[in-house]
Structures are given as structure tokens and as C-alpha cells.
């Protein structure tokens, strides 16, 4: 398989993962940009870092809990103002299955 078709497959895969269509007119430019950025990331990939834990978050003690008491919620009318398709207070979405 040629490198070109591998790259095309790769672009299609990340497009599906990100749910962003790669339009044909921007495909070339995007591919070039993404390749250059990945090359820049290579420095990290090459590092040997055994025994060092990933630092996901600078606050490592984890989240905190609040008391389970009723609090103010958003005004439904205001929330619905941003929703173009809704019925009886529910958001109308596309079929998922």
C-alpha cells in the first residue's frame, strides 16, 4: 500500500473520531499542517520515561463532594431559547439507532 493511501486512511479515521469532515479543498493543507505538528510531537514519543507517573491534573487529591441539598436550577424558558428544535421541554435530536 502506498504512503499516500495510508495517509488518506489516517485522515478518514481521525475525521470520524473527531466528527469533523475534511473537505476536499482543505485536505491538502490540513494534511501538511497535521504532519508538521506530529513531527513536532515526535520529540515526546522518543523519550524513555519508565517509572514516571502521568500527571493528569496538578490537584492530585481528586474532586470534592458537596452536600446533597437542593439548589437553584436554570430557568427552562431561558435554556430553551437557545434550542431551535424542542417539544414539550425536551430537545429534539436525530435518530441515534
Amino acid at each position: 500500500m502506498s504512503l499516500r493511501s495510508d495517509l488518506d486512511k489516517w485522515m478518514d479515521k481521525i475525521s470520524r473520531l473527531a466528527l469533523i469532515k475534511i473537505e476536499s479543498n482543505e485536505r491538502g493543507r490540513l494534511l501538511k499542517d497535521l504532519m508538521r505538528i506530529l513531527e513536532f510531537f515526535e520529540e515526546i514519543r522518543k523519550l524513555k520515561l519508565e517509572g514516571i507517573d502521568p500527571l493528569f491534573h496538578v490537584i492530585e487529591h481528586g474532586g470534592k463532594l458537596r452536600n446533597d441539598i437542593e439548589s437553584q436550577v436554570l430557568d427552562l424558558k431561558e435554556v430553551l431559547m437557545n434550542i431551535k428544535e424542542h417539544e414539550e421541554g425536551f430537545v429534539k435530536g436525530p435518530k441515534t439507532v
Binding site: K64, L74, K95
Partner: protein, 492 residues
Amino acid sequence: MSMFNILYKPAYELVEEFKENPDLMLDYVAKTYERIKEVEPKLNAFITLRSYDDVVKDVEKVMSRLKRGERVRLPGILVAVKDNISTRGLRTTCASRILHDYIPPYNATVIERLIKEGAIVVGKTNMDEFAMGSTTENSAFGPTRNPWNTELVPGGSSGGSAVAVSTAESTIALGSDTGGSIRCPASFTGTVGIKPTYGLVSRYGLVAYANSLEQIGPIARNVLDAALLLEIIGGDDPRDSTTLGISLDGLFNEVMDSEYSLEGVKLAIIKEMVYGADEEVLKVFYEAVNKLISEGCVVNEVSLPIVKYSLPAYYIIAMAEASSNLARFDGLRYGLHIPVSGRSWYDVYMEVRTKGFGIEVKRRVLLGSFVLSAGYNEQFYLKALRVRRLIRDSLMKVLKEFDFIISPTMPVLPFKIGERIEDPLKLYVIDVETVLANLAGIPAVSITCGFSNDLPVGLQIMSPPLTEPKLLSFSKSLEEVLGFRDLVPKGV
């Protein structure tokens, strides 16, 4: 210059005058709106500006609160707010087509706190789309221009906020800082910007880009105004589980009363941070360093080789978090919408996101999805997080030995609009000084330390977590020694 007397007055002085004479607020608001009318067409700092009449109504409310004897800390002060911070009833776009018409049904915690203290939002400021950028050119609403020279970028991503403050379109402003987005535009516009310790300021209502890195923070024309704003927005918030439960009450007075002596203050310059900075920037930076040495500071150069991996590590983490945070934009509950009837979820989401996101957002979400994907997660994302730990630990070690780490805020002077925007890597590399504070969660300030070619040069100061009182007291002393505050830009 008479109009400038009130416009360029520090917030902390205006507050005292307004308490004495609340009617002065109307004069201040009228003059600010005249100023906005004059400079805004040249600068494009705002995406959404509130109407003069609406703001006057708010001023009248604050006046009656004062007359009733209510004690508030920011009566009548106009605040410009970056357009990724939610404001109830006021459009919040993140400079994106995908949120072009979005009107939040709630206020961010920081906005609630400002309103409670009598401050008034004047408008929502321009930015790089979803805060992804360092120039305020990546905006669906056109670029913002630098008030020192309108052909140049103002820095970003909080460029609109910094420009509004530097030109007195507002007295203070809020920005957000994920990898330097407050400090970069502060440096490029001659203002003061603070990236607080992670967890000091609530992110509730901040539209998330890379949530483990970002903080909301102040932009002002002097350190004291920035301290006053930070005191008000900071503190615990039950709606953001990452807030640290620390109150900042009294911060402003502490900094105001401080006379932080420079004698014997130990400063570190990390070699890998300044290496590669432009000559004209380094010249101004080292002139300032020499001044600090003559005031008694002790400056040492330190080498931290791991720092050279900070940029790729930062971008991998930021993109990974972005791909996850921006998954919420599906066009159903807010923002750009296409009819759903008869179409699959895949088609609907794909079309909305493809139409709604700009090119830089697409690059980051695509690569973010890749570095998180099966088979690559360990090679890129987890490795970047391991580097993050090494960077955090080594910075903390330096900060045990030294009081502060200093560097230029930006390795370059403000450059021409359009000059770097076509090449993402040329933009990423200018974040080299700023991303460290976000990776490590430590506070960092940018103040002006001099000029080169009539353009401001920023000095960055970093300190250990939760040392903001010390950091800002030191910054105030530097501001006095270096002599740059309340600057009036020459380009407009």
C-alpha cells in the same frame, strides 16, 4: 488629556471617588463610551458591546445601592469580559461560528461576584476561537489590532480584553489563560496580566478548552488593580470541584500596604526559557534584570533540560483535552443548528461541527482525537503527562531555592497581522515562556519592563502555588523600580 484623567485612573482610586460622589459614575461611563466610539473602529476589541442605555441603567442601580449604604468593592467600574466567559442574557460566542447566537441562561461565578461588588460588564471581548491562539486573529469576528501600532497583533488569545484595558475602553478586564492567553496579550499591549494558581479562581461558566490547564484571571493597567480584581473573582466555589477552598479576602490591602524590599530577593533565569528569544526582547529584558540587580536582587542562571519538551507536551495535552471538551458542540442544545428530521446523528453532528469550527479548532480537535486514540494514547498523551510531572517537579525544586523565576513573557515583539497565521508551528513556538506555569499549575504575572521600537516588552514572574500575595507585592515593587504602569498606547 483632560478626558484621560478619569479614563486612565486606576480602578482602586475610582472606587474611592465614586463612593464619595456616586454621580461621577455617569460622567465616567459617558466618557468611556465616547472613547469606545473613537477607538473601537480601529481596534475591534469587542465582539458584543452593551448599549450605553443598558449600562447607564446598571449604573443607576449601583448608585442607589451606594446611597442605601451598601458596601461594595467595585462600584460602577466597567469590566470587559472575554467572550468565553458566560454572561446571562448577553451573547457569548467564543469567537466561533458554532456559538454565533448563543445566549447563556446563567452567569459564570466570576461574573456573579463582579456584579455583587457593583462592577458593570461593558461588553464581551474578541479572542482566538475557543481561546486557541496567541494573536486574536483566529476569530470569526475578524482580528483585533494592537493599539501601539494597529498593523500588529495584540497577542492572544485574550487580545480583546487586553486592548480594551490598554485603550481605556474599560478600566479592568477578565481573560482566560490556558498556555499564556492572559500574559501574552498583556505583554504585547503594555498591561498587567495574572495567571492565578490552578484552582484559585472558579471555572464555572468558562467555556472549557483544556480544563486541567486553564484559569480565569485579571488584566489591568497596574498591579494593584489586577490584585483588586483577583481578590474579588477568586475563592472557593461549590460548582467547580477543582477550586481549592482558599479565600483571597484582604489581598488588595495586603499588596497595597506592602513595601516588598528587593534586597536579597533570589531570582532564577532558566536558560532553556530565554534561549532563542529575539535579540531586541533580550536586550530590554537584561536591562531590566540589571536594574533589579542594582536594587539588591540576586540573579542566577539555572539549566532545566526538561523545559525543552514543554511545548510539545503542552500542545499534546491541550489538544487531547480540547477534543474531549469540544465534543459537546453537537448543534442540538445551543449554537449553530441544522434540521435533524430524517437524518442520522452522525451526519448531523458532522455537518454542524464542520460548518461551525474554524481551521485552528479543527486542527486541534483532529489531532487531539488522534493522540487519545487506541494505540497512540500511550505514545503521545500519557508520555506528555509524564513529561508534565517532570516539569512540575523540576520547577518546584527551583522555586524551593529561589523566590521567583523570571523571563521575558514573550520571546518576540508584537508582529504583523497575517505574518504567522498561515503556519501553526510558527505560532506555537512563541508560547515557550508561558506554558510552563499552566503545566505546573503555578501563578505567573506579566508586567511591562521596557520598550523596543516603541513596543512594550513584558517581564514574566513565576512563583510557587498559592503565593499570590508575595508574587503581587514583588510585582508592585518591580513596577515602581521599572517605572511602567498606567501606560497610554501611542497608536490610536
